[in-house]
Amino acid sequence: MSSAVIRVRDLGKQYRIGTHGPSYKTLRDRIASGLRFRRPSADKPVADRFWAVRNVNFDIPEGEIVGVIGRNGAGKSTLLKLISRITEPTEGEIELAGRVRSLLEVGTGFHPELTGRENIFMNGAILGMTRAEIVSKFDAIVEFAEVEKFIDTPVKHYSSGMYLRLAFAVAAHLEPEILIVDEVLAVGDAAFQKKCLGKMNEVSRQGRTVLFVSHNMVAVENLCSRGIMMDHGQIVFDGPVRDAIAMYLAGSDSEPGQDLRESSARRAGTGEARITRYEIIGLEGTLVRAGDPFTIRLHYECRQRVKTPVFCVSILTRSTLPLFTIFTKDLDYQIDEISADGFIDLQIHSPNFLAGSYILHLGITDAVESGWKDHVTDGAELEIAEADVYGSGKLRGASFGVLFYNCTWSLTSSPATLVASTSSGKN
């Protein structure tokens, strides 16, 4: 027996395509099809199945903090769900030594009608704490969340900030031997994120084993010593965290843009013309560093002729705050009509986004803005890598904000003060 705390061997998880879709089977259909032929779908080809995770092997020794990174759909979350026992593997095995607590979301089990106090107990129990444990940590949780005055108020009256703080506070007081965390830091404001990261740092210093999934490379780099990079359900790199991040940022796995036709993309519109995929083209392939110019290329298809189409791109923060929106007609760019497939480029010459991941909304409308032909509000994103934007020799990531500007400082002070401070300096 190895001393590994997490041991994963030949792990695989297969899903049926469409199991995440909104269409559920009905008993009526099942009974009807059962009557017609004896074994429905028994010898159907396995084409409607895919492996979300496959052939995954790794060992994690005690006290190691491991970051799992990869693009959306690379299998990171599935891997965490398997290790958290939320879903069962299709093949392979996982061996865990110790109490496992997973934090795939903050505030699981919170109910808006219940008070802060009631929700602390509820959420604590769901996360695996005993009643006695919650009682002993209750004051610390309330203090950490800064909600003393509202502890007996139903959480539906909380501000979203208070709600998040309370939810994270419960989770932060778990004492697992193995902690599994998925992207929970992506929510909340900068102060909240800082607080969470501080707590995570504290955990890591106590010698607990942590598996951490995030798109926030700054957080991954700060917290983790080892990085596992996943792609298409497999581990493509397992080693020092810096190398894993470098590989992630290089993103050289020749993705010809993201396909938006699949059902997961939330969209609205009449559909005469649709955006089928988008590409982000930077100076180094798909990698865009903060401050470097880049191009967003929208590929579209036409079902019928669209007169005087207007294209639109919006860039939003993760918390869906719009930062920037531009229409083709804003720049007096006229298109008479589109009737076949094609693409349109939006070149951003001097972007001001700091490192982080942003959401893109992509749309097609017409000159009178009579409504969307197509509007994609889910599934498109923009990743900006860290860069030394001020030329100071330091990388500036998401904890410094969302934007940076070309700017200058200048100090003015009255001569009297200057004399006083100089003279005091000489004494």
């Binding site: 593997p89 392979g92 061996e95 009608e113 031997e177 106590q206």
Partner: protein, 284 residues
């Protein structure tokens, strides 16, 4: 993390091995017991939320059986002149409606419990059986209130319970077993087949008339009476009525048939649930 319950040395820890399960799975009573506090919290949450969201609050628990009793008394008792084993008809039907309401509410709520708690199922691990179990248990408060109502009514009409009352406990247990057993089946089916939620209320209505609530089951002769007893709620309702009112006829041998049927439903429900459980998080 502040008070430092430091990690146990790796060698001394319990190891968990996760592998794909095949075929029938063990129930896992040990783990259920380990998570009993969560079961309690979920039941309490369900009760609190239920009463916070309704205008009349707790009174709801009493209104439902009370009004059903009034309707039954008017139509079946007054107009239909149903024989009621020598007991005033309102008491006769109310004594049956109390355990029946517990069963029907438990079945309805546990059937929808997995779908209703999908946010928990996809985010945290715990034995899934806890969800339908706590749903059924959350009906116990309503039951207690209903029983109080019944006892008040009895006292008003000059009926006082005798030692038979103790028998109401095993009959309540039998109602719980039946409710949980059917609830397990339907909750697991509901995850995969979303029309189950429309089937359950329909089924409950039929089931109510197949149970001696508005009428007396003693009208049946053998062997039909034994066949009738396959419906576990027959044993529950007849037994409970006899135990609480302290009068009328004890259910007799039918109780064995009902108990056996209830156990069969529960055990098969448990195994079916555990078998289906592996895909809950993927499709719910």
């Amino acid at each position: 993390m502040s008070e430092n319950q430091s990690p146990t040395p790796v060698g001394q820890r319990t190891r968990i091995r996760i592998v794909p399960s095949k075929g029938w799975v063990r129930i896992g009573f040990h783990e259920l017991w380990a998570y009993r506090e969560l079961m309690y919290f979920l039941a309490v949450r369900e009760i609190k939320v239920r009463y916070k969201q309704t205008a009349v609050g707790v009174a709801w628990a009493v209104i439902q059986p009370l009004f059903t009793m009034l309707v039954f008394s008017l139509f079946f008792g007054r107009l239909g002149k149903m024989p009621s084993e020598g007991i005033p008809y309102p008491l006769f039907s109310l004594a049956a409606l109390i355990p029946w309401s517990f069963f029907a509410a438990g079945l309805g709520q546990s059937s929808n419990s997995l779908v209703g708690n999908s946010n928990l199922i996809t985010k945290v691990y715990f034995p899934r059986l806890i969800i339908p179990i706590s749903s059924v248990l959350s009906g116990l408060l309503d039951f207690a209130l209903g029983l109080t109502l019944l006892l008040i009514f009895m006292a008003a009409m000059g009926f006082f319970p005798n030692l038979h009352l103790l028998w109401s406990i095993p009959f309540l247990l039998l109602a719980l077993v039946t409710s949980l057993g059917t609830g397990l089946w339907f909750s697991a089916l509901n995850v995969e087949y979303r029309d189950v939620r429309y089937i359950v209320p329909f089924l409950t209505q039929f089931w109510m008339f197949a149970t001696p609530i508005a009428y007396s089951g003693q009208m049946l002769r053998e062997p039909w009476r034994s066949v009738y007893g396959i419906n576990p709620m027959v044993g529950v309702v007849e037994g409970f009525r006899w135990a609480v009112l302290g009068r009328g006829n004890p259910p007799g041998s039918i109780i064995f048939i009902s108990s056996l049927a209830a156990l069969l439903v529960l055990v098969s429900g448990l195994y079916y649930f555990r078998r289906m459980e592996r895909t809950f998080a993927d499709i719910v």
